[in-house]
């Protein structure tokens, strides 16, 4: 098992490394000169030249990439051209806000997804199954920014239950956090809940028709134990991979959620960085987000081995 884990870790590092090259080159294809965008059109040429020199923008691209990577190992992600402060600080300040919405949404999405998936599989064909399945298709098919707006309109503008903006971090006040973070969390977890419940439902239906379920029934085991012990464990194993895939959607979704609920998180930072061609901020954020996604997949892959004895033995 350990040699498998080491191989997977190295593969992930390689992926992140290639992702960094991919991200770096794509971003440098963005039209427009970042310094001009940052300092404004009227600024005299020498200042522009001086700032370009300062940030090694005139070096050949591969060299710039290497300096960026080397500095990154020293914890220096480069500076923002707009805010004149290290990208590392920006990330340190804003990433917690994205995670304050992302992590609860991730957990809520898994729990609700599993619950709905199991209930609609067990009650297959009945009314509750049809409603839940339709609700799941709705939650997958609905654009997050529209749901956000709808929730804002209903619960903030009309009913005043929740504030429209300025997220309160849990550190400051739990109640404030709960009130301000509820809508974004609901909005962000819908997509994940939908895809997990679909996957759980189809796995459960498939597992329930397997031979060993028939053997369990023939041995006189009660229907409840069969579904919630024998079938459930087999059905949940493949769901783990869907959870891995969804980790990345949670963070990608943050871009929209933070835009609507005006939460100054990583998502908004990235969108602004694209519009302002703020290279280092964009590179740094995208890399961190990709790192989280790849790391998430790695954890899921290893977890998969421990849950399913067949895989554990094969990798042993």
């Amino acid at each position: 098992m350990t040699s498998y884990i080491i191989k997977r870790v190295l593969a992930s590092i390689a992926v992140i490394f290639i992702v960094s090259i991919f991200v770096f080159s794509i971003i440098h294809l963005l039209p427009g000169d970042p310094v001009v965008m940052a300092l404004g059109l009227e600024t005299p040429m020498e200042d522009i030249e001086r700032v370009r020199e300062e940030h090694h923008l005139n070096d050949p691209l591969p060299q710039q990439y290497i300096t960026w990577i080397v500095e990154m190992f020293h914890g220096d992600f480069g500076d923002s051209l707009i805010e004149f402060r290290p990208v590392a600080d920006i990330i340190k300040e804003r990433l917690p806000r994205t995670l304050a919405i992302g992590i609860p949404a991730f957990v809520l999405g898994i729990l609700l997804g599993l619950l709905i998936g199991i209930v609609s599989a067990v009650r297959r064909g009945k009314a509750i199954d049809q409603t839940l399945t339709f609700f799941t298709t709705l939650s997958i098919g609905t654009p997050q920014f529209w749901i956000g707006m709808l929730l804002l309109y209903l619960f903030s503008i009309k009913l005043h239950w929740f504030p429209m903006r300025n997220l309160v971090m849990p550190g400051e006040s739990i109640l404030g956090y709960l009130r301000s973070a509820t809508l974004p969390i609901i909005c962000s977890c819908l997509q994940m809940m939908g895809s997990i419940s679909r996957q759980t439902r189809s796995n459960m239906l498939e597992v329930i028709s397997q031979d060993y379920i028939r053997t369990a029934r023939a041995n006189g085991i009660s229907e409840k134990t069969i579904v919630y012990k024998h079938a459930l464990k087999n059905a949940l194993i493949p769901v783990v991979t869907v959870i891995g895939m969804n980790l990345r959607n949670i963070i990608a979704g943050a871009v929209l959620i933070e835009n609507i609920f005006s939460i100054p998180g990583i998502g908004v930072t990235m969108t602004n960085a694209i519009n302002n061609r703020d290279y280092w901020v964009l590179q740094g954020c995208v890399l961190i987000v990709s790192f989280i996604a790849v790391f998430g997949n790695l954890v899921v892959d290893i977890l998969y081995g421990y849950i399913d004895p067949r895989i554990r033995e094969a990798r042993g």
Binding site: Q130, T142, P143, E206, R248, L256, I274, V294
Partner: protein, 294 residues
């Protein structure tokens, strides 16, 4: 050869069976089919149906409420008729997304089949590419690409297509890997058939059912991404009528005139959900064994 009635009879029976399973999921499928067809008709006949020119501003009567006589759905911030913008928005979204889904389906499934059939370094390379593209947050990648390629309809459909390719590659790859184990593939090799022919006469038709399902579902997904890009101000830009843009535009006046923002959002949801439901129904009808699998 077989008598033609016998052939016609069997074909009729197959069609009946197809539609029975297709509509087997109940009334929802019928509703979604109506929604999808409705939007397609609206998109095709947009210029004819729309009461006003979607881009004509009328500063005099901005923010007219719903139901005012000349503007059924009222007007937006610049006094443009919301209804005509919705109609033209359908055309923009559908054409853009349909084209994107089509070309990415062809490219994606071909790459997936090749990766699955030739499993060697070529297969690994294609799969590694998919992992890399999926590691980068999809929306950010699309935004960057949209800015690079420009924001006309053609460029946006390229960007949307790139986003949809990994789904096709993975689906085609996993299908081909399992189909390859069948004896009829070995038999076809033994009779001297060329690899290229095997791929497109045997592998492609057999994963066609699941590719169709992915096609309908990614059509919905692509419309959502297109509207998200427009919402983030990176995709199609003013004054073109696009649902995402309308939602972004309407957000400013959410407090006072919610309909300007909520109506286009509702259209997006309706068509995306419709395509997803049709995708599910199509999957069951095309291949009963796949029921509940995808």
């Amino acid at each position: 050869m077989a008598s033609s009635e016998d052939l016609k009879l069997r074909r009729k029976k197959n069609m009946e069976q197809f539609f029975r399973i297709f509509f087997g999921r109940g009334i929802i499928v019928k509703i979604c089919l109506v929604i999808a067809v409705f939007f397609i008709i609206v998109a095709v006949f947009a210029p004819v149906i729309a009461p006003h020119d979607p881009t004509a501003t009328d500063p005099m009567n901005r923010y007219l409420p719903m139901g005012s006589e000349d503007h059924l759905f009222g007007t937006d911030r610049y006094g443009r008729d919301v209804l005509s913008r919705l109609i033209h928005g359908a055309r923009t979204s559908l054409t853009c997304s349909l084209f994107a889904t089509l070309w990415s389906a062809v490219v994606g499934s071909t790459l997936g089949i090749i990766a699955g059939y030739y499993e060697g370094w070529l297969g690994k390379l294609i799969l590694r590419y998919v992992d890399i593209q999926l590691s980068v947050p999809a929306l950010i990648l699309s935004m960057v690409l949209a800015v690079i390629l420009g924001s006309n309809m053609f460029a946006i459909s390229i960007v949307l297509g790139i986003g949809a390719i990994p789904g096709y590659i993975r689906m085609a790859y996993s299908n081909v890997i399992s189909i390859k184990e069948n004896d009829y593939i070995t038999a076809t090799r033994l009779i001297g058939q060329k690899n290229r022919k095997i791929m497109f006469r045997h592998l492609f038709p057999n994963c066609f059912a699941s590719l169709i399902v992915i096609f309908t579902m990614s059509l919905g997904q692509v419309i959502m991404v297109e509207s998200s890009l427009a919402y983030l101000g990176v995709g199609l830009n003013e004054p073109l009528a696009a649902w995402g843009l309308m939602v972004n535009d309407g957000f400013a006046s959410l407090m006072t005139h919610p309909s300007v923002a909520l109506l286009p959002g509702f259209c997006i949801m309706a068509i995306v959900v419709a395509f997803n439901v049709l995708g599910d129904a199509l999957r069951d009808a095309l291949d009963p064994k796949l029921r509940g699998k995808l």
